[in-house]
C-alpha cells in the first residue's frame, strides 16, 4: 500500500517581518492535502521565490511521499549544487512534503524520524537587546520573567581586525550586566555573528569565560574551518557554529577539525529536515551537540521542534523572543512555551501548524536589505 499522492500545486507567500520577509512554500496534492514549509532568507526574497519557480516542473505531478528522492533530484540533477538561496527554497519544499506525509499517515513528523527521544524541548531566547549594558540587562530580566532559562545576545557591532581589551570590553560589559541581573542559574550564550577576527575572538572568549558562558557563536566568519579551529582550540568558552554552513558536506569539515562543541544547522539554510537530521547524526558520531538555528517564523520553529524531539544529541532550540506583531498573527496553532522555558513535543499530524492567509495579507512583503554595519573609516563591516 505504498502512497500514491501527486503534487498538484506549488504556491509561495512572502510576508513582511520587519526589515525582512518570511517566505513560505505551500504544496497541494491531488487528494486535497496542503503542506507548509518555510524558506525564509533575509534580503533574498526574490531569489528564493525564483528557485521555487525553477523547481516547479520537477514537483508538479511527482509523488509527494518520495521526499528524499525529490531532494536528490533537485539538488544533484541541478549540477550547480547548493548555496543558501537554493537550499532555503528546497528546504521550504521539503518540509511541506514532510507535512503532507505526516498528515497523510495521521502522525506528527517526528514519528517518521524514529519518534521522540525526549518529553519536552528546551528553548533559548534570541533576545536580550540593548545599546547599553543597562538596556541589555533590563531586556534579559523581562525574558527570564517570561519563562526563558537560556538567553543569547549579540553584544558587539563592527569590530576592527585587531582590538585591545577596552574595545572588546564594550561588548563584554553588556554580558556582565546581564549575568549580574539574571543571576548564576540562567544559561547565557554570546553570538559574535562572525564579526571578530581570530585573535580578537580568542581574547573575547577569555574575557567572557569568568561570566559562565554556555557557548560563543560564530566567533569569526564561516568559510575557513581552520581559522575557526584555531579559535576553538584556544577558547575557554565552547564554540558553536553552523547557521551559515550548508548541507552535510560543510558540517563534515567542521567536525573533522574536532574542535567545535555545538553545531547549529538551520533546517532552512542547511537544506531541510532530513538534511539537518543527517548533520545531527554526523555530530552524534563525534559526540557533538546540536542547537538548531532559527530566527524565523513559528513555521520553522515547529519544523525544528519535530527535529529536536528526535535528536539524542540535542541541546537547545533557538527562538526569536522579540514581541513581533506579525509572528503570532499569521499562524494558526503556534507552539506555546511553558513557564520553565520548554516547548511540548508536537502532537498534531504533519507539521501541526498552518497559516492564517487572511491575516498574512496585513503584512505585505518588504523590499528589505539586511542591516548594514560600517567600520569607522566608512568601509564595510560584516553584519
Amino acid at each position: 500500500m505504498a502512497t500514491s499522492r501527486k503534487i498538484a500545486g506549488v504556491r509561495t507567500l512572502a510576508v513582511g517581518a520587519g526589515w525582512r520577509n518570511y517566505i513560505f512554500v505551500l504544496i497541494e496534492t491531488d487528494d486535497g492535502l496542503t503542506g507548509l514549509g518555510e524558506a525564509s532568507l533575509g534580503g533574498q526574497t526574490n531569489a528564493v521565490l525564483g528557485v521555487v519557480k525553477d523547481l516547479e516542473p520537477l514537483l508538479l505531478g511527482a509523488e509527494a511521499g518520495r521526499i528524499e528522492h525529490l531532494w536528490q533530484q533537485a539538488y544533484r540533477h541541478a549540477f550547480w549544487h547548493g548555496g543558501p538561496t537554493f537550499l532555503s527554497a528546497l528546504a521550504g519544499v521539503e518540509v511541506a512534503l514532510w507535512d503532507i506525509q505526516g498528515q497523510a499517515l495521521g502522525v506528527p513528523i517526528h514519528r517518521l524520524l524514529g519518534g521522540p527521544v525526549r518529553e519536552r524541548i528546551r528553548a533559548y531566547a534570541n533576545g536580550p537587546r540593548g545599546d547599553t549594558p543597562e538596556e541589555m540587562a533590563r531586556s534579559a530580566v523581562d525574558l527570564v520573567a517570561r519563562g526563558y532559562s537560556a538567553l543569547k545576545m549579540a553584544p558587539w557591532e563592527a569590530m576592527p581586525i585587531l582590538a585591545g581589551r577596552g574595545r572588546i570590553e564594550d561588548g563584554v560589559a553588556k554580558v556582565r550586566a546581564v549575568r549580574e541581573a539574571v543571576g548564576p542559574e540562567i544559561e547565557l550564550m554570546v553570538d559574535a555573528h562572525g564579526r571578530l577576527s581570530p585573535p580578537v575572538a580568542v581574547r573575547a572568549a577569555e574575557m567572557l569565560a569568568p561570566l559562565g558562558i554556555t557557548f560563543l557563536e560564530e566567533p569569526c566568519l564561516p568559510g575557513n574551518a581552520r581559522a575557526l579551529a584555531r579559535i576553538a582550540r584556544k577558547s575557554p568558552v565552547p564554540v558553536a557554529v553552523g547557521e551559515r554552513h550548508y548541507t552535510r558536506w560543510a558540517f563534515d569539515e567542521l567536525l573533522a577539525s574536532r574542535t567545535i562543541n555545538v553545531l547549529q544547522p538551520d533546517i532552512i539554510q542547511s537544506g531541510g529536515l532530513a538534511e539537518a537530521r543527517k548533520i545531527a547524526a554526523l555530530a552524534e558520531m563525534h559526540f557533538v551537540s546540536v542547537a538548531p538555528h532559527n530566527p524565523w517564523s513559528w513555521v520553522n520553529t515547529m519544523a525544528s521542534l519535530h527535529l529536536d524531539a528526535t535528536l539524542p544529541n540535542f541541546l537547545m532550540q533557538e527562538v526569536i523572543a522579540d514581541p513581533e506583531p506579525w509572528k503570532d498573527a499569521i499562524v494558526i496553532n503556534p507552539p506555546v512555551m511553558d513557564d520553565e522555558g520548554f516547548f511540548a513535543v508536537p502532537t498534531a499530524p504533519g507539521l501541526g501548524i498552518s497559516l492564517d492567509l487572511e491575516a498574512a495579507t496585513r503584512f505585505p512583503p518588504v523590499e528589505g536589505r539586511p542591516p548594514a554595519l560600517w567600520h569607522e573609516d566608512g568601509s564595510v563591516a560584516d553584519w
Binding site: M1, R66, A104, G106, L112, G114, R248, L282, M285
Partner: protein, 394 residues
C-alpha cells in the same frame, strides 16, 4: 490508506511481549525476535549471529522487561535507552539484539500506518534494488567455476566468493597462484559482463592483502571485501591507499561510531553495515548519511534470511548512496518454508519496491512453531587452520 484519525488511534500502542525464536538453519541459526503489542499488531526482526545464539537470545531477554509496556513507536528513544543506559555498550551481541528489536519496531510502525518502512524514511529514491548472489560453492576451483555458471544461468548479474582459505602473513606463491587459477577459471566460464565481488573475510594480513589484490586485479574485481581484520582501521587505510580494487568493509563494525574512523581515514570505498548487527535500520541510515559525505557507497551485508533481506531492502530503497544488496541464494528448504511467500526477484538480480506495510515479511507461524521445536546447534562456528595446525581467521 490510513486516514488521519485512525492513524493517530493506531499509534496508541503498548508492547506486551518480546519473544525470541531460534530456528535451526543448517549453516547457522536463524534468530527472529517478535515484538507483540496490545493492539494485535506485531513486528519481527532478525538477529542471527554465527556461534552466539544463546548470547543474543540472552541479550534480547535482558531488554524485554524494559520494552514491555512501552510505546513501540518511540524507536530512537528505545534505541538510546537500551544502548546508552546499558553502560557496557554495544558489541556484536547487544548490537544484534538491539538491531532485531529496532527492525521489529519499524515493522510495527509501518503496519500501524499502513505503509512500507521506506515510506517512513523519506520515501523511495529508486525504482529497483540490485542484489548480488552470495552463492558460489565448491571444494575445488572447477566446482566453484561450475557453481558460478549455474548462478549466472539462473539470472544473476553479480556474485561474491572467497577465492582462498587460510593464507600466511606473507602470502605464499601457492596461495597466490591458486587464487589466480580460480579467478581465471571463473572468468573463462562466466565471461566479463558479470560483476565478481571478492570477499577476503578478514583472512589476510595487510601485506598479504596487497599481494592478493595485485594478483587478482586483472580479473576486473567489483570490490575487495574485508581484506584485513576490522580491529585496525589504519591497516585497512594502508591497504586501500595501495591497491587499485575498491575496498569494502563493515559487517564487523557496529554503530555509527564503529564506522567513523574508516570514513575519516578514507579506508573504504563501500561500507557494508549489517542491519542485524550495526544497530538496526535507522543506525544504518545514519551510517549511510555519513558515508554520503565521503562519496562512499553502501552495500548492506546480509548472509541471513529473507527477513533481514526485506529489512535491508527497505533501507536500500530509501538510501541515495546505496550500491548493491547481498543476498544468500542457498537457504535450506526448511528455512524457506518458514516464510508465507518465497522471496521474489527479477532476472539480473533486481527487486521491485515492496508494497506491503512494515518490513513486508510474512512468516508462516505454524511452520515457525513446528520448526522451533527442533534442536539447534548451539555453538556452530566454522573454523580455518593454517597448515601447521595454528588458528587461522575464518
Amino acid at each position: 490508506m490510513t486516514n488521519a484519525v485512525s492513524g493517530r488511534a493506531a499509534l496508541n500502542l503498548r508492547v506486551t511481549e518480546v519473544v525470541p525464536h531460534v530456528l535451526f538453519a543448517g549453516r547457522t541459526n536463524l534468530i527472529v525476535v517478535e515484538v507483540r503489542t496490545d493492539a494485535g499488531i506485531f513486528g519481527v526482526g532478525e538477529a542471527s549471529l554465527e556461534g552466539k545464539t544463546e548470547a543474543v537470545v540472552g541479550a534480547i531477554n535482558d531488554v524485554s522487561e524494559y520494552l514491555v509496556g512501552q510505546d513501540p513507536t518511540r524507536i530512537e528513544h528505545h534505541w538510546q535507552t537500551i544502548y546508552r543506559h546499558s553502560f557496557w555498550r554495544g558489541g556484536m551481541v547487544v548490537g544484534s539484539a538491539i538491531s532485531s528489536i529496532e527492525q521489529a519496531l519499524w515493522d510495527i510502525l509501518g503496519k500501524a500506518l499502513g505503509v512500507p518502512v521506506y515510506e517512513l524514511l523519506g520515501g523511495r529514491v529508486r525504482d529497483r534494488v540490485r542484489l548480488y548472489a552470495n552463492g558460489p560453492r565448491g571444494d575445488t576451483a572447477e566446482d566453484v567455476a561450475e557453481s558460478c555458471v549455474k548462478i549466472v544461468e539462473a539470472g544473476w548479474g553479480a556474485l561474491k566468493l572467497v577465492p582462498f582459505e587460510a593464507v600466511p602473513g606473507v602470502a605464499g606463491q601457492r596461495e597466490l597462484r591458486e587464487a589466480r587459477r580460480r579467478m581465471q577459471l571463473i572468468r573463462d566460464a562466466v565471461g566479463w559482463d558479470v560483476d565478481i565481488l571478492i570477499d577476503c573475510h578478514g583472512r589476510l594480513s595487510p601485506t598479504a592483502a596487497i599481494q592478493m589484490a595485485e594478483a587478482l586485479e586483472e580479473f576486473d574485481i567489483f570490490f575487495f571485501e574485508e581484506p584485513v581484520l576490522p580491529e585496525d582501521p589504519r591497516a585497512l587505510a594502508e591497504v586501500a591507499a595501495t591497491i587499485s580494487i575498491p575496498v569494502a568493509t563493515g559487517e564487523r563494525l557496529f554503530t555509527k561510531w564503529g564506522f567513523r574512523d574508516v570514513l575519516a581515514l578514507g579506508a573504504a570505498d563501500v561500507l557494508q553495515p549489517d542491519i542485524a548487527h550495526c544497530g538496526g535500520i535507522l543506525e544504518a541510515r545514519k551510517i549511510a548519511a555519513a558515508a554520503e559525505v565521503s562519496f562512499v557507497g553502501i552495500a548492506p551485508h546480509n548472509p541471513y534470511s529473507w527477513l533481514l533481506t526485506m529489512a535491508s531492502v527497505q533501507l536500500d530503497f530509501a538510501t541515495p548512496n546505496f550500491l548493491i544488496q547481498e543476498f544468500l541464494i542457498d537457504h535450506p528448504p526448511e528455512v524457506e518454508r518458514l516464510f508465507a511467500q518465497p522471496f521474489s526477484w527479477l532476472p539480473g538480480g533486481w527487486v521491485e519496491p515492496p508494497t506491503a506495510p512494515g518490513l513486508g515479511v510474512e512468516l508462516d507461524w505454524d511452520a515457525v512453531r513446528a520448526h522451533e521445536q527442533r534442536p539447534y546447534r548451539k555453538t556452530y562456528q566454522p573454523s580455518l587452520w593454517h597448515v601447521d595446525g595454528s588458528v587461522a581467521d575464518w
